[in-house]
Symmetry: C2
Subunit: 455 residues, 2 copies
Amino acid sequence: MSNRTKRFILPESEIPTQWYNIQADMVNKPLPPLNPATKEPLKPEDLYPIFAEELARQELNQTDAWIDIPEQVREMYKYYRSTPLVRAYGLEEALGTPAHIYFKNESVSPVGSHKLNSALPQAYYNKMQGVTNITTETGAGQWGAALSYAAKVFGLECAVYQVKISYEQKPYRRSIMQTFGAQVTPSPSMSTRAGKDILTKYPNHQGSLGTAISEAIELAMTTPNCKYTLGSVLSHVSLHQSIIGLEAEKQMQMAGEYPDMVIACFGGGSNFGGIAFPFMRHTIKEGKKIDFVAAEPASCPKLTRGVFQYDFGDETGYTPLLPMFTLGHNFRPANIHAGGLRYHGAGVIVSQLLKDGLMRAVDIPQLETFEAGTLFARAEGIIPAPESCHAIAATIREAQKCKETGEEKVILFNLSGHGLIDMTAYDQYFAGGLQNYELTDADVQKNIDELEKII
Amino acid sequence: MSNRTKRFILPESEIPTQWYNIQADMVNKPLPPLNPATKEPLKPEDLYPIFAEELARQELNQTDAWIDIPEQVREMYKYYRSTPLVRAYGLEEALGTPAHIYFKNESVSPVGSHKLNSALPQAYYNKMQGVTNITTETGAGQWGAALSYAAKVFGLECAVYQVKISYEQKPYRRSIMQTFGAQVTPSPSMSTRAGKDILTKYPNHQGSLGTAISEAIELAMTTPNCKYTLGSVLSHVSLHQSIIGLEAEKQMQMAGEYPDMVIACFGGGSNFGGIAFPFMRHTIKEGKKIDFVAAEPASCPKLTRGVFQYDFGDETGYTPLLPMFTLGHNFRPANIHAGGLRYHGAGVIVSQLLKDGLMRAVDIPQLETFEAGTLFARAEGIIPAPESCHAIAATIREAQKCKETGEEKVILFNLSGHGLIDMTAYDQYFAGGLQNYELTDADVQKNIDELEKII
C-alpha cells in the first residue's frame, strides 16, 4: 500500500501548449450551423456581431487539429494546471470493485470547476479585440463565476444572467460572482425584451439556460463594445476544454494505464468533450477501442430521448440554427439541482459523434446522482457538484458491472467541479426532500413536434 | 513573462515523511501544563483519559525534533499534498509592490483548509488504540469538516460541537460535516452540564471555542470508548501542521528564494506554527533572521493585548492549566466571521516564543480583513476564508511598506483555507453590514483580573 501513487500531476513544462480540435479529424464533419433568416451555412463573419472574431473562427474551424494556446492564457493556466489525476482507491474499496477508477479533478481550479479553462481564453480574445464588456448566461453559476474572475483578470466589465431557480437555490454563487466584481441578474428578467416576453407568457417561469442565453445575447447586441460569451455547447468551448483530456492522457501514462472507458456529465457538452475528445482522436485515427459515456439527467434527456434536428440554441431564437440532439428550444427542464445540465440541446460535435456511434449516453435520475455523490464524498473527501454526481453515478454503475464480471476495467471520469456551494441540495437529499422527475413520452414529444416548423 | 513559474509542487517522493517538533530545539522550553487540582506538572498519562495515548505523548515531547509520520497518514496526505506554493504575481501587481509575495495554498485540501493535516493523524492514532468515537469542537467549521472526513476514513463515529454563532452564520459547514456522516450540535447546548450551566448563566450566549471545547471534553469523558480531539492550540496539532512549513521550505528552494517574513493568521496557533516553525528552526539553530508575524483579530487580541499566565483552555475549566498568552477563559469574543480565531488563548509553544521575542503579532480590524480578502480574490481568483484574510491583510501592510521603501522583501504567507462557505460574510461586507469591534482596556482587563485566582 505504501508505494501506491494516488495523484498524478504534470510538471509545468508538460502542460499542453495547444488545444485539440476534433473537428479536423472527424470523418463525418458536423453539419454547418445555419443563418436562421437565409438558411445559408454560417460563415465566421456572421458571428462577429455576437462573438469575438477569433472565437468565431475557432467555432467553425474544421481543418486545424491543433490551435496554439495564447501565452497570456497559458500564464493563467499555470495557476491551477495541471489539475490532478487521482486514482480513486477510496471509492474502489467502498464499492469492492476490481475496476481501476481514476478521476480528473477539475474542482481544484480557483473557481471550483473546469469552466475557467474556457473563461480565460474567451475573456482574453475579447480583450485583445478591444471589447470592454462581456455578457453571459449561467445555470448553477460555475460558468458565471469563472467568467467573472476571467473578466477581472483581463480588465473587462462582466454582466451575468443567472437562471432564476439556481439564483435562488445557490445564493453563494451569486455572491462569488459579485466578489469578483460582476453584475448578476436573475433570468428571466424585465431587463430584456426576451425576458419580458417570456415572463408575460409564463409569469412563474423559473428560468433555463436557453432563456438566460437569449437575455445575454440581447444585452450584447444592444450594448456598445459588448460581446457575448458561452460556457458550453459551442465547439470553441470544447476546444478550450480539451486541455483536460490532453493532460489526462499524459497523466494516465504516468499511472501506466489507459482508459477502457471515459465518462463525464453532460449539459451542453464542454466538460464531456474536454476530457473525451483527446482520447477519441485515437479511436478515429487508430481504431483504439474506448467506451465514451455521457451522463445526462433523466429529467433533461436530449441525448437519450431527443431528436437530431436543426434547432435554436436559446429559447427566443437569437442564435444560429444548430444541428443538434435536442428536446426543442422551448423545453422547460425540471428544477433539479444540477443547474448546469438543464439545457435542451447538445453541441454540434457531440451530436454528430453520437449519431455516428462513437459515443453513447446514459440518463440518470436525480436521487441516484446524490446517492453516488454522497458515497464519493465519504470515500474521497471531496463533495462533488450535483452535475459531477451524474458522472460519478455512471461510473459506479460500470464499476458494479465489473464487480459482477470480475473485469479490471480502467475507468476515467471527469470531476468537473465541487459541490461546496450546493450544500442546500445535499441537505434536502438527506432530509428526503428531493425527488426524481419522470418524463412521459408525451412530455418529450411536445416541443419536438414544434421543431418541424424550423427547417 | 512567459517563463515565470507561478506554482511550485513537490513530487510525491519529496513529501516530508517526518513532522518537525520545535519543542526539542527551543532554548527556553514551554513551561509545563499543570494538573489543575494538584498544580503538579502534567505527565502524558494524565492526558490519557481524554486523548489518544500517542497524541498525549507527542503533546509533551520536548526531546525528539523529528517524529515519523505513520504510513497510513502519509497515504492519505498523498491525496492533496504537496499543496502548491504560489507566487502571487496578481496581488503584487494590484499593489504595485516590489515585494515578492508567495502563499502556501492549503485551501486545495479536499475539505478546504489546512485542518486535515492534523485531523488525519488524530483519527488514525485513536483508531489504532481501539477508540470507536471521537468528539471535538469547531468554530467556523473548518476543523469539524476535516475531522468528520478523517473519522470516516478510519471508520470512527464523530460528534462535533459547533460554536452557535458559526452554526448559524455558516449552515453549509454543518451540511458538509453531516455529508461526511458526523453528528453536529450547536454549542452551548443542553446536552452537557457545561452547556447547561453556561446557558443558565447567559441565556443568549452565542458560543465560543472555549465553550464548545468544554462540551466536547465532557462528552468524551462520559462516553465509553470515546476520546476528545482538538483542532488547534495544542502542541501536537502544531507538530502535525509542520508539514506545511517543511513543504514550503523545499518549495521556496524550487523558487530560488528564501522568505524574509513568514505570516499566518492566528486563532490557537496551529496554521501559524505549521508554516513558521520549520523556518524558525534555522533562526534558533543558525541565527537566520526571519520576521515571523501572527495576525490576530483586533476583537480577540490575546497576543497583542493579553497576558502571559496559566489559564484553562476551555470556558468551564476541564482542561489542564496551560501557560499561555490569554484574555482569560471567560473572554467572550465579538461575533466576527473569522470563527476560527475566536479563542481566548494561544498555544504554549507560541506563547513562549512570543515571550522570547522570536516572533511578533499584529491585530487587524474586521473591515480591513475583508478589504484585503476581496483584493486578493480579484487578483488571484481564490476567495479566502475570513480567518486567512487576516494573514492577507498583514501581508498587504508589509507589501505596502516595501512599496514606500523600495525593498524587494520576500514575504511568505499561509492561505489556510478558502471562503466559499463564508459568502454570507462577503455579502454583508459588500452591503456595508459588517463592523469593527473596538475593545476598551477595561474590556480586556475584566477577565484577566479573574486569572489571579487560578494559580
